[in-house]
């Protein structure tokens, strides 16, 4: 039976009032625990307050500063309960970016309500954005979905009017152009579809204990939280990422399911080189998503957990399709992102013709969810074929058994005199140096070769290393044209919390204009 969020939370709270729903930490890192009864009561109160404040639900949205705190989690649940579209905002967003995001929301909604830590809705001015007209003002019309399977008004019964939105998520973190994708709503609980098949294939169980490490304003942690809430999990919210803390929380709360980004994975391995596998004894599965994972980090986690507990998901936020691979399959086919799950994959050349296995082309996918696929609020990033296949522009190849291998995205590939350099490979080589914490490889213009590789390098505190030594280090691992010709030492590599490099924040003169203005959508 398909249920509203209000009804579902109430049902869980009645069936299991004293079981823990949420564990968080306040600013002094003091543990805060809410039982399902307390969670349901607080969500209901906050939802009522929001309903009372909002005049016109179809044209209003709630904005929640979504750090990993109990109030943020309650506010998100309250907006979904009240069936007011909710936008989880990165609370540390610089003011200019925040205004740009609010202006985007203003194209679709007339009223915004900020729901802060006190859970009191306050009017927000979205109209400031109407002054900015860039000609791409087409607003998603409610055909949206994230790569998950919550029941929605679109695929199940429910009172939702066409065009109703459940939630909105900011995307485009690696290009610097804010985008917002809209997910049609209202959100519903459907026991057959919540969570989606792919998540259930990745070791998920109802009523499990889950640790949420990534921030609630990102798609993967956000949707994991919604699934957790609708599927009666106990959720532990890690308020900020500290690499040594994550294994400790897994151990302390006997966590069963965990979703990480490759950056989290890399930092955890580096933060605790002598990590005891027993810390993870309770864990049934670790699922990683978002950016691509370098092979060393992947193997490190397979060693730590055993291959059967490591899952990787590749899926565009836009709901184009999804692949899943378990550690044992990956060991048999290193580098693969797996097979399509409820997803057909076709590799097409530039003329739209299928290419044979082993050949690289553009990755097109087809899933049942295409009907409710999310469009960007402010641009058209998805290309489709007449028979329902779609792409976000990734390149890759299939092997004979249907396993997908991705190539680096076009705009990340560095072209050195016609030779293609995958920045991931250069970055992995640099991170292999004991003094290097993090690194980003970028293209810089070069008189004869067109471009060469340059690197931004973040060193371990208190260490120093000569540029020539780094170049020699790379030379032992990489072909000559892949070795960075320039090194810039930086205090911090700008990464989104999902681990994607925010290349446009690398404001060095090295940056090509192409990266600087982020002119390439996606």
């Amino acid at each position: 039976m398909v249920l509203s969020v209000r009804r579902r939370i109430g049902d869980i709270a009645r069936a299991d009032p004293d079981r823990t729903a949420l564990i968080g930490f306040d600013t002094n890192l003091v543990e805060q625990v809410l039982s399902w009864r307390e969670f349901a009561d607080r969500v209901a109160d906050a939802a009522d307050a929001l309903r009372a404040a909002v005049d016109d639900r179809s044209r209003s949205c709630a904005v929640v500063p979504a750090g990993n705190t109990l109030p943020a989690a309650i506010a998100i649940a309250a907006a979904l309960t009240a069936e007011v579209p909710v936008f989880p905002l990165n609370p540390t967003t610089p003011l200019a970016e925040r205004d740009a995001l609010l202006r985007l929301l203003g194209r679709r909604f007339t009223h915004g309500y900020l729901v802060d830590a006190e859970l009191r809705p306050q009017r927000l001015d979205l109209s400031a954005g109407s002054a900015v007209a860039d000609g791409h003002g087409t607003v998603a019309d409610g055909h949206g979905t994230v790569a998950d399977g919550h029941g929605t008004a679109a695929d199940g019964p429910g009172p939702g009017k066409p065009g109703t939105v459940a939630y909105l998520l900011a995307t485009g973190a690696s290009t610097g152009i804010p985008k917002i994708s809209a997910r049609p709503g209202p959100l519903r609980y459907d026991p057959m579809r919540t969570p989606s098949l792919v998540i259930r294939q990745a070791g998920w169980r109802s009523a499990q204990r889950q640790l949420i490490v990534g921030p609630l304003y990102h798609a993967a942690p956000f949707t994991a939280f919604l699934d957790a809430m609708l599927d009666s999990n106990t959720v532990v919210l890690q308020p900020f990422f500290a690499p040594r803390w994550t294994p400790e929380l897994v151990h302390r709360y006997a966590i069963e399911w965990l979703q990480l980004t490759p950056t989290h994975m890399r930092e955890i391995l580096r933060g605790s080189p002598d990590l005891d596998p027993a810390c993870f004894a309770s864990l049934r599965a670790m699922l990683h998503t978002a950016a691509r994972c370098d092979p060393d980090t992947k193997r490190g986690w397979i060693d730590l957990l055993g291959p059967e507990r490591v899952y990787e998901l590749y899926g565009a936020t836009e709901g184009v399709g999804v692949t899943l691979v378990r550690g044992d399959e990956w060991l048999a086919r290193p580098g693969t992102v797996g097979r399509g799950l409820l997803t057909q994959i076709r590799i097409l050349d530039n003329d739209g013709n299928p290419v044979p296995p082993g050949m690289t082309g553009t990755v097109f996918m087809r899933t049942p969810q295409r009907v409710g696929r999310a469009d960007y609020v402010n641009d058209q990033a998805i290309r489709t074929t007449p028979d329902g296949f779609a792409t976000v522009g990734d390149h890759g190849r299939l092997d004979r058994d249907g396993y997908l291998y991705l190539e680096p995205r076009d705009h990340d590939t560095i072209n050195v005199g016609g030779e293609k350099v995958d920045p991931d490979e250069v970055e992995a080589a640099l991170r292999d140096h004991p003094a290097v914490v993090d690194a980003v490889a970028v293209a810089v213009p070069h008189g004869t070769l067109g471009s060469v590789v340059a690197a931004h390098v973040m060193l371990r505190p208190g260490t120093s290393v000569r540029r020539a030594e780094l170049a020699a280090h790379c030379g032992r691992r990489l072909a000559g044209y892949k070795i960075p010709k320039q090194f810039t030492f930086v205090d911090q590599i700008p990464r989104s919390a999902a681990g994607k490099v925010q290349r446009w924040r690398l404001t060095s003169h090295h940056e090509t204009p192409h990266h600087e203005n982020g002119a390439t959508p996606l």
Binding site: L197, L342, R366, V371, P386, D387, G388
Partner: protein, 169 residues
């Protein structure tokens, strides 16, 4: 007997179709009637074929509907050769009834689980409108009926009644 223009007319009236033409092409030594449809929003060939069956009856003779980005034209008329080539390349699923008992039982399971009346053995699962719910339903029903458990990958790899029946035989 239903005429080709009648089929075109019915197809063109479908809300997702901008333009439709029905032609006879030569395929594997026989004449088959196929339609080419230019969609205005996503719609699949099998769904349009079943729509014609629902409107005009099961014996229209329409074997399949090919979705085209733009109607192929040659000398001011529909380019029959290019449509014949598409059929020859297997780009247009042609309706075919089950040829044996296993196919018949699998098709009946698909039909019941997906709530689709007419399932051709070559029809693609997603094009017929399958989703995660029907996958799970079909896998469960096949386990009951054939005593054989399937995983989602095996099922999606097969993707048609004919290939699924081959696994089960």
């Amino acid at each position: 007997m239903v005429t080709l223009p009648e089929i075109s007319e019915v197809l063109a009236a479908h809300p997702a179709v901008r333009r439709a033409e029905v032609v006879i092409v030569r395929h594997q030594g026989r004449d088959v009637a196929i339609a080419a449809a230019e969609p205005s929003e996503y719609v699949s060939g099998p769904i349009l074929r079943n729509y014609v069956r629902q409107e005009l009856g099961e014996d229209t003779g329409l074997a399949g509907v090919l979705i085209v980005e733009q109607m192929p034209m040659a000398d001011g008329a529909v380019d029959v050769d290019s449509l014949a080539a598409a059929v020859a390349e297997g780009r247009c699923a042609l309706f075919e009834d089950p040829r044996d008992d296993v196919e018949r039982r699998v098709a009946a399971i698909w039909s019941a689980q997906m709530d689709v009346r007419s399932v051709g053995v070559n029809d693609d699962f997603l094009e017929l409108g399958g989703d995660s719910l029907s996958v799970l339903g079909i896998i469960a029903a096949i386990e009951t009926e054939f005593g054989r458990s399937l995983n989602v990958y095996e099922f999606m790899n097969a993707a048609s009644v004919r290939r699924l029946a081959e696994i089960l035989r």
